[in-house]
């Protein structure tokens, strides 16, 4: 019985940050429940896992190894984690809320008659789990009922990773039983659409536009503001979905992550998928007609109003100030 099992995900860029944040969430849950922490992850033949623990080490680590897990598939991961969880019988299993976790953990939880408590932003006494509703316009507090295991995934950036202090833990190998025929999907190599020509990561100023712009014909308004500010143009997902700006100018979880000196969000409500891509900006300005839009929660300055009036006025004011 391991109490709380924290699961690592191998990232393409080798970053361990989201694992370290999940560990921090695990420590919070451990402090509330008195349970102990263990960790697990899928290792491959070339790569050791758990090299990048930060903060106090979990009691033990479980390295899942199998040739059929070298490439991620939902079928393979569900089989492997189901077997490990049945062996360890943890009360809680914590994951980072990544695309991969969203792909296989709901299926894994169903094997246990459970439901993943996904995209958790805080854990409080109870334990109670906080998560967002209505694209960030509401917060919900939820509770797990009945027997375990309780599956939880943690929102990117919601828990602060501890500093690395070189602690290590004993690692046990776990070899699941998986047959090739049990893996029904054949995934191809990840690729990018085309050579990315726009790297917004280096931009000093960004003007970003969302659904509020209503029509492609209104885009010149935003282009004029970006021109006056000498800023790069960016957008939230719906604008790129509509083809009003190229996909490579999308900011958010499915696009680029940016941290400019100035980020001006125009007609963007601020769903979490967008916020994760820009909340590290130094100064955030939000222009939106809805005073309750979640973008105002992260903004330094806000104007509540009709962007079709505010943006032209702002373009003129910026031009005057920069002369």
């Amino acid at each position: 019985m391991s109490g709380i099992l924290v699961v690592e995900e191998a990232r393409r860029d080798g970053s361990a940050r989201i694992f370290q944040e999940t560990l921090a969430a695990g420590r919070k849950l451990a402090s509330l429940t008195g349970l102990t922490l263990e960790a697990a992850g899928v290792g491959d033949s070339n790569r050791n896992i758990f090299l990048q623990i930060s903060g106090p080490a979990p009691r033990a680590g479980h390295a899942i190894r199998h040739p059929l897990l070298e490439t991620y598939t939902a079928d393979g991961y569900v089989l492997a984690f189901e077997q490990l969880i049945r062996k360890l019988e943890p009360q809680y299993v914590l994951f980072p809320h990544s695309y991969q976790v969203r792909d296989f953990v709901p299926r894994l939880a169903t094997k246990f008659g459970q439901v993943l408590i996904g995209d958790v932003t805080a854990i409080e006494d109870g334990p109670l789990f906080e998560r967002q509703l209505f694209q960030g316009r509401m917060n919900a507090t939820v509770r797990h009922e009945g027997g375990g295991p309780c599956f939880v995934s943690v929102q990117n950036g919601a828990f602060r990773a501890d500093a690395a202090n070189g602690e290590v833990m004993p690692i046990a190998e776990f070899i699941p039983e998986i047959e090739p025929a049990q893996i029904r999907t054949a995934p191809g190599e990840p690729f990018r659409e085309s050579a990315q020509t726009v790297d917004l990561g280096w931009a000093q100023r960004i003007v970003s536009v969302g659904r509020g712009i209503k029509d492609a014909a209104n885009m010149p308004l935003i282009e004029a503001l970006a021109g006056a500010l000498n800023a790069e143009l960016a957008a939230s997902r719906p604008i790129c979905d509509n083809g009003w700006l190229p996909m490579e100018r999308q900011v958010g979880s499915s696009g680029q992550t940016v941290a400019p000196k100035l980020y001006m969000a125009v007609g963007i409500s601020g769903a979490i998928q967008h916020l994760v891509g820009m909340k590290g900006s130094q100064c955030i300005v939000a222009i939106n007609k809805d005073p309750d839009a979640p973008i105002f929660e992260v903004a330094d300055y806000g104007i509540v109003g009709d962007l079709f009036e505010v943006v032209p006025a702002l373009t003129e004011a910026v031009k005057a100030a920069r002369q």
């Binding site: 079928d75 299926r107 509703l133 929660e297």
Partner: protein
């Protein structure tokens, strides 16, 4: 190809959400409702697959009486028939509970393909399609932008994080959850709206499907989010607010 599309009715994106007394859910009176946008993309993909390969598109939706308007919208856009799972206690069911209802209604149809949106715009759980795949015993793939039928089954384009993609090949039958943006959404035509009135819309109750609400995750309360930063709201006319903002950006934030 026989394709089932699971769609959800959600509060319209621009509708103001207010907390109901008791703090357990939002006030649903006077709310405008709409088809969950990712589900609209799932329906669009299904209609395009039918146009290319023939077959039938069946929409399924769970919810109270009001859900009928969203179902009729799907029929008007071109779905062939619909199943409405009547359920007044949606709030008492967790994602597994809802997926069980959908699975019970879908299973007898024996579809080649089940499509749904990657997540709903209200609860944002992003789990129903994946759970449905497990309950139906079918392979699945999530965050799909394009679907291509092959001799062996399907080749789908999946979105990964930070601008990466991959192709996945899989057999049929299968379950896919669709990402937005892969297609252009169609509008219902007048002819479509007229025709929808003659299409089969079968209602079935949760009790008839034999699925009880037995949630393992329950909602304690909802609340407006706490502010992470203290935002300075600049008021006045558009011109005044713009001037005040430029002044702040120049002298206080020093980013101009």
């Amino acid at each position: 190809m026989k394709i089932v599309v699971a769609i959800k009715q959600v509060p319209d994106r621009d509708a103001p959400v207010r907390i109901a007394s008791g703090g357990k859910w939002i006030d649903e009176s006077d709310l405008q409702w709409a088809m969950n946008e990712p589900d609209a993309y799932a329906l669009e993909e299904a209609l395009q697959l039918k146009e290319k390969h023939g077959g039938e598109v069946i929409v399924v939706s769970v919810g109270p009486e009001r859900v009928g308007s969203t179902i009729r919208e799907a029929l008007a856009k071109g779905a062939d028939r619909a199943i409405h799972i009547l359920c007044d206690d949606l709030g008492a069911r967790d994602a597994l509970g809802v997926a069980r209802l959908l699975a019970a209604a879908i299973k007898p149809e024996n579809p080649d393909l089940v499509l749904t949106g990657l997540q709903s715009e209200d609860l944002g759980l992003g789990q129903t399609g994946v759970i449905l795949a497990e309950l139906l015993g079918l392979p699945h793939a999530t965050l799909i932008l394009h679907v291509e039928k092959t001799d062996a089954g399907l080749k789908v384009k999946r979105e990964l994080e930070e601008g990466w993609y991959q192709f996945i090949e899989m057999p049929l039958p299968a379950v896919l959850t669709m990402q937005s943006g892969g297609n252009k959404l169609r509008y219902a035509t007048l002819m479509g709206i007229k025709r929808a009135k003659t299409k089969e819309l079968r209602a079935v109750s949760a009790a008839e499907l034999g699925v009880e609400a037995a949630p393992t995750v329950t909602l304690e309360q909802i609340a407006a989010p706490k502010k992470q930063k203290s935002t300075q709201i600049l008021s006045g006319s558009a011109k005044e607010a713009a001037a005040a903002l430029v002044d702040k950006l120049k002298t206080e934030a020093r980013v101009l």
